[in-house]
């Protein structure tokens, strides 16, 4: 499993690549998504019915404690996500970007990271943030409009959210190159970086450039693509003709597709990919095959472009329910434990709500702060003039 060659896809016998006919739309769709199981290459360790299945390459054991922890993580981040969504509906947030349905992909990837590893999120990675010790409260300011990101990305080893699609992939590549240049790669104690992006982002030039750079500099970088099937209104086949994980081969590194609704497989595959990177065998592309169960954002109306039966089909593959079934069927958790997790989730939601209600508006001068690292007299004069003007309004009614 340590050799990248393991993951290169052999050409099917008798297929003359140079003259291969354009695949029919049926073939494209079969390869991309309507595979309700994600296709034969999909790595899965826990079926939607909660059955633990064996995978020859990922023969991993999980302790009961670990299984309960993953379940708890997913329940808590989903509860926070639903609360944030409700807070937006009530006018407390300007916008919310739901993660509903992507809990397993994010918790699996997030729990595979070590403290010294680095992660670069897009803007939907609330589950990964959770795993990096960033409370949902810390994310709220950005969506309420009080800040552009509140945590220290260097100290937390979790970059600020990036909204412009795909930009962060190049930044992550540079960070990972730095890990290698500093000699932090090569053994079990090596460092690695993981970057999160979506199926839509794979069309961006920045993402392709990141694939090239990470490849030629042997960057210890895991490209973690959550293919949630939809880039706002555009289905994955608008971005690609072949399954996304197969793109890696063209850039010279391994690509693998995992069931992104299976937290065990997401964790196992992410751990493997990070190990590869630690040992100097990066980069690796993971395509987490999952589904955006809610709209793109609270400003989006998904009923305008997709059928409800698709959502219903994916509900049967819910990432949390399958773990719940597995835990209870195997006596790993009982009713009291599930109730306690639910109570904890409700408490988290209540705290989140209270926090948002009390989030203070930033002071006016905040927008002039930290624009430059060094003094800028032009901007300082602009700030002073504006603050002086503002002070002419009695009682701050302005």
């Amino acid at each position: 499993m340590s050799s990248p060659e393991r993951w290169t896809q052999p050409q099917p016998a008798g297929t003359p690549a140079a003259t291969a006919a354009r695949p029919t739309s049926e073939q494209v769709i079969a390869g991309l998504r309507a595979t309700s199981e994600g296709g034969p290459e999909l790595v899965q360790l826990l079926t939607p019915e909660g059955e633990r299945v064996h995978h020859p390459e990922f023969d991993v054991d999980f302790s009961d404690e670990e299984l309960r922890g993953l379940y708890r993580d997913m329940v808590l981040v989903r509860r926070a996500d639903r609360e944030a969504n409700a807070l937006q509906r009530q006018g407390q947030l300007g916008l919310w970007v739901p993660l509903l349905g992507q809990e397993a992909a994010q918790i699996g990837a997030g729990r595979a990271l070590r403290p010294e590893d680095m992660a670069f999120p897009g803007y939907r990675e609330h589950g990964v943030a959770w795993c990096r010790g960033i409370s949902p409260k810390d994310i709220m300011g950005m969506w309420r409009g009080t800040d552009h990101g509140s945590w220290d990305p260097v100290e937390r080893r979790f970059h600020l959210y990036t909204i412009v699609i795909g930009n962060q992939c190049l930044n992550a590549t540079g960070y990972a190159m730095g890990q290698r240049f500093e000699g932090k790669v090569g053994d079990d104690n090596g460092e690695a970086t993981m970057v999160f992006f979506g199926d839509g982002a794979t069309s961006q030039g920045d993402v392709h450039e990141a694939f090239v750079w990470a490849s030629v500099y042997d960057a210890p970088l895991v490209f973690f693509c959550q293919n949630n099937q939809w880039a706002i209104s555009e289905p994955t086949e608008r971005q690609t003709r072949l399954p996304l994980y197969q793109r890696a081969r063209g850039y010279g590194f391994p690509g693998i597709r995992v069931d992104g609704n299976d937290v065990l497989a997401s964790l196992a595959v992410s751990r493997w990919a990070l190990e590869e990177c630690r040992h100097g065998n990066g980069p690796v592309l993971i395509e987490a095959f999952t589904y955006r169960m809610d709209a793109h954002t609270t400003s989006d109306d998904a009923t305008r472009y997709r059928h409800s039966d698709e959502l219903e089909a994916w509900k049967l593959k819910d990432p949390i329910e399958r773990v719940r079934v597995h835990l209870s069927r195997n006596g790993i958790a009982d009713h009291d434990w599930f109730d306690a997790v639910q109570a904890e989730a409700d408490e988290l939601a209540a705290e989140l709500r209270e926090h948002v209600y009390n989030l203070p508006d930033p002071p006016t001068e905040r927008m002039f702060d930290h624009v430059y690292a060094e003094a800028n007299p032009v901007l300082a004069a602009q700030r002073d003039e504006f603050l002086s003007y503002m002070s002419t309004f009695a009682g701050g009614e302005h």
Binding site: H148, I163, S203, R238, F368, F386
Partner: protein
């Protein structure tokens, strides 16, 4: 450039109607697509969804997927392929979903789109329109509230216009599509739902012309896009205090049509330029420079500017302070009068 000829509408369309900016843009796209089969619309989510602001609503249904393209999620790709399509005789109308997302396409716009006509000595015409919802005031997250027009006005070979109301949106977009030059078409997203009365039989102004919206004697205000409404409100408020403002909607940012501004400043002796975009090295700087050059002996006070600050666009809870408002416009007028 000659005024583009726009077909007179048929009798069924001739009645005056109330439209929003979104509706005006939608009608303009539809009219151009009906007139010219080479007009195509391309962008992210413009097809089935009809655009995130619904400007392209219904177009894919009526004109098909080959004329309304839900493109891959890549802005450089949208503009880069539009250039090739234009070389093939198409007239692409590109949508950049939000102002802050235009920068991946910046390379294609300034390196290729802006230069090919000159480089080919006129052999390559690129009649491409790039529609950009711009500006703040909608409580959005980062990269959704920016005013990047000065970058493009600074680039030779591009034309840059900004509409401020539904009627202009309707006419100006059609004129931009009919222009043989590349046009950056900025749309004031926070005014998208404002209403106006469209008379489809009226004769529009030429695209690259400014317009005096309100005549006045005390001072001149030059502005464009979303700030036009703000400045008109300031003029209404000022009138109660005996301040009689002349308000000019610039409409075209490159080339600038400043003759009406010069003429106005020669009468009023005072000019305030208002924009959401930051002031440093901007369209407002350009206007100030040209007015002091042309109207030096008429000026009773220096040209003053009211703009967004030279900071990153702030978190939305601060945007009301960041954006010029009625009070800041009138404060500048007071300072000009007190000079």
């Amino acid at each position: 450039m000659a005024t583009p000829t726009i077909d007179r509408p048929t009798s069924t369309e001739s009645a005056t109607q109330t439209i929003t900016i979104i509706k005006g843009l939608n009608m303009a796209l539809r009219a151009c697509m009906e007139r010219d089969p080479k007009v195509i619309v391309m962008g992210e989510d413009v097809g089935k969804l009809g655009g995130v602001f619904r400007v392209t609503d219904g177009l894919q249904k009526d004109f098909g997927e080959q004329r309304v393209l839900d493109t891959p999620l890549a802005e450089s790709g949208i503009v880069g392929t539009a250039i090739g399509l234009a070389m093939r005789g198409f007239r692409p109308v590109c949508e950049i979903q939000f102002d802050g997302f235009i920068f991946p396409a910046f390379d294609q716009i300034v390196s290729q789109l802006a230069k090919l006509h000159a480089r080919s000595q006129g052999k390559i015409k690129l009649p491409i329109v790039i529609r950009v919802p711009f500006g703040g005031g909608i409580g959005a997250v980062e990269h959704h509230s920016e005013s990047p027009e000065s970058y493009f006005a600074h680039t030779a070979g591009l034309r840059v216009v900004a509409c401020s109301n539904p009627v202009d949106a309707y006419w100006m977009l059609q004129q931009a599509i009919e222009s043989d030059d590349p046009v950056l078409f900025f749309e004031p997203k926070r005014r998208y739902h404002e209403k106006g009365q469209l008379d489809p039989t009226a004769q529009p102004l030429p695209l690259y012309s400014s317009r005096v919206l309100r005549q006045g004697t005390t001072a001149t205000i030059a502005t464009y896009g979303p700030m036009v409404r703000t400045c008109m409100d300031a003029a209404t408020a000022g009138a109660e205090d005996g301040v009689d403002l002349e308000v000019i909607d610039l409409r075209s940012l490159s080339p600038l049509d400043l003759d009406p501004v010069f003429e106005s400043v020669r009468r009023t002796g005072r000019l305030v330029v208002v924009s959401e975009a930051p002031g440093e090295a901007s369209i407002s700087s350009e206007i100030a420079a040209k007015v002091q050059q042309e109207c030096f002996y008429s000026l009773e006070a220096p040209v003053l500017r009211v703009t967004g600050f030279d900071t990153p666009y702030p978190a939305s809870k601060l945007e009301e302070e960041y954006l010029p408002d009625l009070d800041r416009v009138l404060d500048a007028v007071d300072r000009s009068l007190a000079w």
